[in-house]
Structures are given as C-alpha cells and as structure tokens.
Symmetry: D2
Subunit: 259 residues, 4 copies
C-alpha cells in the first residue's frame, strides 16, 4: 500500500508541531503516598516535521502511548519522548500529558479524610540533545477579599479560586510539595469533606488571612524563589468573584537572571 505521508512536499515549509491532540487514555502515574495512581489522561503528542515530508504517521504516536501508559513517571516520560522522536524519525518531539490527580487530605480539626482532585500536567520537549520538562498543577483554594473586609462592618466576600503553577523540572520535587506551597498561600485550602468544626475553622482562618489574587501569586512566588529547585516558573491566580460574574486575575513569571 502506498505510503502517502512519506511522499515529498515541495512547499518548503517546516512544521513546528505535527501529531495527535486530545487523545484520552488510562494511565498509571507516580504517587507519593501509594507509589502509583490510576487516572485518565488527556494527551498531545507532536514531532517537528521537516519541509521535505508530506505528513507524519499518526498511528505510531498511539503505539508509543500504548507501551507506556501502564507506568508514567519522570524517567518513562523522557523514554516516551525519545521513542516518539526515533519512531517518527524526527529532529524534535513534544509531549503533553494532563490528568486529574487525587491526594488524600485531612480536614483541619476533625481529621476526617477525603480525596481532593488537582489537575496536573507534564509538558516536555526533546530537541536534538536538549531535553526539557515542565510540571504544572492547578489547585483550587479559597480567597477572602482584603478590601471587602476592611471597608465592611461585618463579613467579607470570599470565593473559590484556582491557582496554577508551572515549573521547569530540573531537580526532583513532588507534586504534593507544590500543592502544599500553594494551599498555604491562600486564605484557606479547599476540601471535599468538612465537618462542622472544620467549617468553623476554615471560615475563621480565611477571615484572618484576607488575600487578593495578587497576594496569592506573590506568596507562592516568594516561596518558590527561596527554594533552589525552582529556577523557572509561572504563577497564576484566578478568583471566581462572589460579587461579580467574572474573575479577578494575577500572573507572573520568574526566569533565572542572565549574567
């Protein structure tokens, strides 16, 4: 059968990324507490396509995914990238895997446990000999508005917010560590299960730690800057305002100083 994809192309245009997008696959990922956690990933897999080839071979991406979905960790992530690059005979390859990740979390007073969902993402690239991996996590939090507290005789508007951090992975860190840093940088964390004594605790804690989206981003940034493992990262906070139908938003990025 003719291999149309391998035919020559004459338009002289390299394509930065060619591949498959949005494939959903069951996957086992590294888990601090239990070694492995079964989840459902959404995966994008791309290669660089030199100008002389007409197309890429989509099925080979899925074959690689098939081979590695049983055990995703930092080592196998780069093995996947290597395999994609080799199998597609490409100068560069990209891999993005995002998945819901659950951590068992204890309520602050009652100590009851429940599973809390965080959205995680591995984004990596291999380009010639260069390899890079970014790890991202989205953490729901509670924020209480400092302005509203200050100007009101009682109460203060508060809301669910979502804090996203993406960090270049150079030295090992756990997703659980990033989550801990973020949750301690908001007015309060968010839980799946809270008893009444926990609700009281969280309500009062949030009231005593009023924070703008700006504050949350700065708190997280400040902590990450003090940890030498984090050399390049972005921090984003979005508050789903309880008094508006839109979000308050803050974002920053930190890169190593060039000398």
């Amino acid at each position: 059968m003719k291999d149309v994809q391998s035919e020559p192309d004459h338009r002289n245009i390299d394509l930065a990324k060619v591949g498959i997008k949005g494939i959903r696959y069951p996957m086992n990922v590294l888990d601090k507490a239990n070694k492995a956690q079964a989840t459902v990933a959404t995966v994008n897999m791309y290669v660089h396509l030199p100008h002389k080839f007409k197309g890429t071979h989509m099925s080979r991406f899925v074959e690689v995914l098939n081979d590695y979905c049983a055990d995703l960790n930092l080592k196998t992530f780069f093995e996947m990238l290597d395999r994609i690059k080799k199998k597609l005979d490409a100068p560069a390859a990209n891999l993005e895997i995002s998945f819901p990740y659950f951590i068992k979390k204890k309520a602050p007073v009652s100590g009851v446990s429940s599973m809390m969902e965080y959205t995680c993402k591995y984004m990596g690239e291999i380009n010639g000999d260069e390899r890079k991996l970014y790890i991202g996590v989205k953490v729901p939090v509670c924020t209480l508005c400092p302005c509203s507290k200050e100007i009101s005789t009682q109460g203060a508007h508060n809301q669910r917010g979502l804090v996203s951090v993406t960090a270049l992975f150079e030295e090992f860190f756990w997703i659980e560590e990033l989550v801990g840093i973020i949750e301690s940088s908001a007015s309060s964390g968010v839980f799946a299960l809270l008893k009444r004594e926990d609700e009281k605790f969280i309500t009062e804690q949030a009231y005593n730690r009023p924070m703008f989206a700006e504050d949350v981003v700065r708190e997280v940034t400040d902590k990450l800057k003090k940890d030498p493992r984090f050399t390049r990262f972005t921090v984003e906070a979005e508050n789903f305002e309880s008094i508006h139908n839109h979000s308050a938003y803050a974002y920053t990025e930190v890169a190593p100083r060039q000398s």
Copy 2:
C-alpha cells in the same frame, strides 16, 4: 437528483425528534428597555419523523432560522414552529433557542451602570393543535452560608451561585421580571461594575441575608407561587462553594394541582 430522505423506511420506528442541533446564529430578541437586543443564539430545531420516512431535510430548518433571526419574540417564536412543522410536513415540531441576554444594572449605592449577562432560553413545542412555550433564565447570584455564619466568631463563607428558573409561558411576563424575582431571593445580586461603596453595601447585605441553596430555591418558589401567571415551573440553585471544589445544589418543581 434523488431525494434519499423521502424514501420509505421499513423498520417501523417513529423518531420523536429529528433535526439540527447546536447551530449558532445572530439574532435580535425582544428587550424591555430598548425594544430589541442583538445577540448570538444557539439553536436546536426538531420535528417528529413518522416511521415511514427515511430522513428529514436538514436544510429547511436553516431556511426557517434565516427568515426569523432578525426579529425573535413570542409571536414569531410560534410562527417559526408553525413554519417548521409545515415545511417539514411533520406532525410535531420542537424549537429551543438559548442566548446571552444583557440588562443594564445600577450599582446599589454609587448608581454606576453596567451590563449584566443572563443566559435565556425559549423552549417550545407544537404538537397537532397543542402549543407550549417554556422560558428559562439563569441568574448568577451571591450566597452566604447560614451555618458558617452561625458557628464562626467572624465572617462566613460565601460564593457565586447560579439560579435557574424555567416557567411555562401562558400569560405575558418579562425576562426582566424573572431576573428581579431571583436576584431579590439570594444573599445578594452580582454586578459587572461596583465601586468601593457598593462593595461595602453588598458585603454587609450578604452577611445579613445568609441563605443556603435550599433557601434560595424556596424564596423564588414562594414568590412565583403567589403570582398567578406562573402555573408550572422549576427552580434550581447551584452554589460554587468557596470551601469545597464541588457545588451545593437544590431543586424543585411546581405543577398545577390536578383536581
């Protein structure tokens, strides 16, 4: 050219709804303040397909939409339904049109104006001589938790919520009336633009009107039951809890008592 759709079908299965789904179209809708408002609608159009026909003619639905998109009101809505039924030679027809609808709203203290978005929906059916129209609206509100307020020394968790009402349309009412009923039944309304004095007002108002999702549904239901124009309706409230990553939810439906 052969008309495949009109060929006979032998499986002896009537289809309750056949047509087009999710078409997006520019539309002018009836507006209380300005007579007409330009918006972008998402439209589903269906007919009943008797078992003897193989298929329906999709393009005819779009022709009807084309003819009526310049002026959607309650009269033309039923004209559209009649036209669909006739043009598709069908015993029954359904029409669902949902659209963002903006109402100019004044902040409670400063009086500054801004546009607030509500999602509206017309859902109608014509079946032989019977015709029915339901009007729905989704209204974002602020709710403050009565339990959290009661048990905490200071503050109370609050959050954005979404209240949805769907009502059988028999006697005329404005969408603006439904919105007003809903917004007065929550801890506070939600605004696009608030100055600092408004934020103070709303924070304090919400703190003084703590309401569960259950309370909001009961308040709205209570008001609608007292208005003879509303004989059949559903009320739903979903709170995007600021201390959880899931929603608190309440729902009820009211139908005329059968005697």
Copy 3:
C-alpha cells in the same frame, strides 16, 4: 455547635432534590474483562427534603461516597442509595455517577489493540420501597451520509458522531454489550489505533454502509427492542457534520406498552 440545617422551615415547600453536585472522585468500577477498572467519576448525590427542614447535611453525602468509591458495581450502587437515604433521614434519594470507561479494542484487519474511551453513567433513585437504575453510555462512531453518496459521482461526506443510549436496568447486561450494539449500528466504529490496512477497511466499510443519524437511532432501537432485557430506553445520535458547523440529530424513546 448549633445545627442550623435541622432548624424548622415555615415556607411549606418540599424540595425534590437537595445535595451535592459535580464532585469528582477516584472510583473502581466493574469491568467485564478485568473485574475492576480504576476511573475518575463525576458524582451528583441528592435527597428529597421535606418542607419542615431548613437544609440538608452536605458532608454526609461525601462520607457515603468515601465508603463506596473503592468498589462500584450494581449491588453497591443500591447500597449507596440506601445509605444516603438513611443517613440523611430522607424519604427518597438520587445518585448519578458518570465516568470515562475504557475497553480494549482490536483494529479490524491488523488486530492491533488499543484502549477506547466511552462515557458511562449510572443514574438511580430510591423512593420509599421503589428503586430504579438507568445505565447510560455514549459511543463515538463514524457515519457516512447516504444522500451525499447517492448524489455525488465520487466520495461522500462522513464524520464523527456520538450515539447515546440510556436504558432502565432490570435484568443484567454489560456496558460492553450496549457498546457492541451501538458500534455495529453505525457506518463504522471509531478506534484509537489503526494501521493503514485498517484505515482502508474502515473507509470502505463506511462507504458501503451509509447511514443518517435517523438510521443509526433506528438500527439501535430495532436491536434493543428485540432483546427482552431492554424494556425502557432512549436512543440519541448526533453527527458533527463535516460540511456544516452544526450537528444533525435524531432521538427516540421506547417505553413498555401499557395494557
């Protein structure tokens, strides 16, 4: 601490459904090939709230979810419902659990295996002594337009479609059986991994089995009607038309004849 939820309410309004919506939880579900499959569920849990109570106790729903997430099957589904009803002291309870479910599928010619995702849903209710369970599944398929094939000298437009079936569960059936019925009722099934010989096979198969959304719904309905286990069900097909930016849609429902 005061139990605000248990306080009396004087508005005299029963609420049909009160509870939590959209909680995401890791879950093990029954799997035909491997006994159990780990997935991530989205869960709604409601009770009926009699008019005399102010509110429900949201945390108890999550406690039940916690207790049962390790092993969801048809037996434990009803145990969950019983437990919710009892723990919340309610006359009726509802439970909706939807989750991605993967089935290993072989390509039609090469025989290569890959995992295919289907969205499943259990929806159940317990009301006094009455208990009901509906099982739903959404299956992506390929449909090729009979009209386009008929009128064109070559080719025919085809596209991805989504077929949804919801069936009252009275006698045991596997999700895998429903999926098989649906996939054999479209122009072709859809796969995560296809080699070139499979792509040829599927292209030609689809061209030889042209089907409207109407045909797909009738094929599925016809097969389910002939199986005595399916007494009450709905069938829906939505084609994401390749020549339009909207969908073609067909739907029907079948209920036992009343005598």
Copy 4:
C-alpha cells in the same frame, strides 16, 4: 474609605498581569459588509503591577469597557489600551477581546445565503511606547484524508476541522480576507445552509482536494508568506478525525528573518 489596593507591598515582586478575566459584554465590532456588527465578547484586561503596590483597582477596567463597547475597531482598541494604562497608572497594559463574528456566505451552486460563525480575537499590548496588536480567527473547514483516498477502492474519510490563524497586525487587513485565505486552503469550506446541489458540489470538491492537517497549514502559510502585510503569524489545523476519537494536528509559526 481606606484604599487597600494602594497600600505598599514589601515582597518586592512585580506582577506581569493583574486585572479581570472572562467578563462578557455586548459589543459592536467593525464589519466589512455592514460597517458594524453586534456581538457578545469575552474580555480579559490586565495591567503590569509594580512591586510596590498591593493590588489593582478592578472596577476601573470595567469602566473602560463600558465606555468603548459601543464601537470596537482598530483605532478604539488602542484607545482602550491607552485608557487602561493611564487610568490604572501602569507601565504596561494588555487587552484580549474574543467574539463570535458572522459573515454572510453563499452556497457554491444554489447561491442561497446563510450566516456563518467565526471566532475572532484581538490581542493587544501597550508597553511604554511600544504597541502591538495580534488578530486571530478560527475557521471551521472540511478536510478529506489523502491517505484514506489513496488506499481505498471507494470513498475517503473526511471530517470537520478547525483552522486557527493569529497574525501581527501592522498593515490593514480585513478578517474577511483571512477567512477567505483559510477556506480556500482546505478540502472544502463549511456552510450553515446547503441545498442538495451544493452538497453534491462540496462532496466532489473535497474528494478532489484531499488534504492532511499538515497540507492545510502549509497552504495557508504559503499564501500568507506571499502577502507582505503578514510578517509574523501562526497557523494551526486540528482535524476532528471521523475514524478516531482524537484529533490530527499541525502547527507552525513564521517570524520575520533577522538580519
């Protein structure tokens, strides 16, 4: 009343973007055929926040939006940016406005007209004296697989795809021009309304113009490179494969050669 936002912050962290996200607003945008088109925009507005200030003033963004929503064009877009920068006393400002945009389109044979939706986006930045504007458009198309056609005796799988172009705006071009370039670079365009003779035409045209996602990106890129108005742009094509439940994807970016 105390202005909490203007208080000093001591963490010494600049924030790249602070503002409001996801506000929905009615808007009139420039339209080639009718001068103005009413639409509903989703808007993000940000400023750079120097490290010494605790927070930004969210309400001022909405005031600017209020002032300009009646007439959005390229001139007023930069006026908005200037106003945001000035009103928030910021060194830099960002503005992103995305909206559904409708163009009247004639079917290829019958000539019947209908409205086709495209998603447009203006993304601009003002940083000191530097000002930049990118214009983006997403265009649904039909693509037919060259490999499937080549290897199959009859037919070829085809599907809806979405092509996205983002271009730096330096010299004037119409959105309609970009749309035209993209629609002529796929197997076929997509329409809201087609009569049977149009469906025949499009089916045959697509069969005679088989294109991978890779081909679509190269065709568009080739045409844009030949037009001196486009100096910096990205092109992306995503095919919602009719034989898979995931997408085929291609992407490239073109920047002026540095000398």
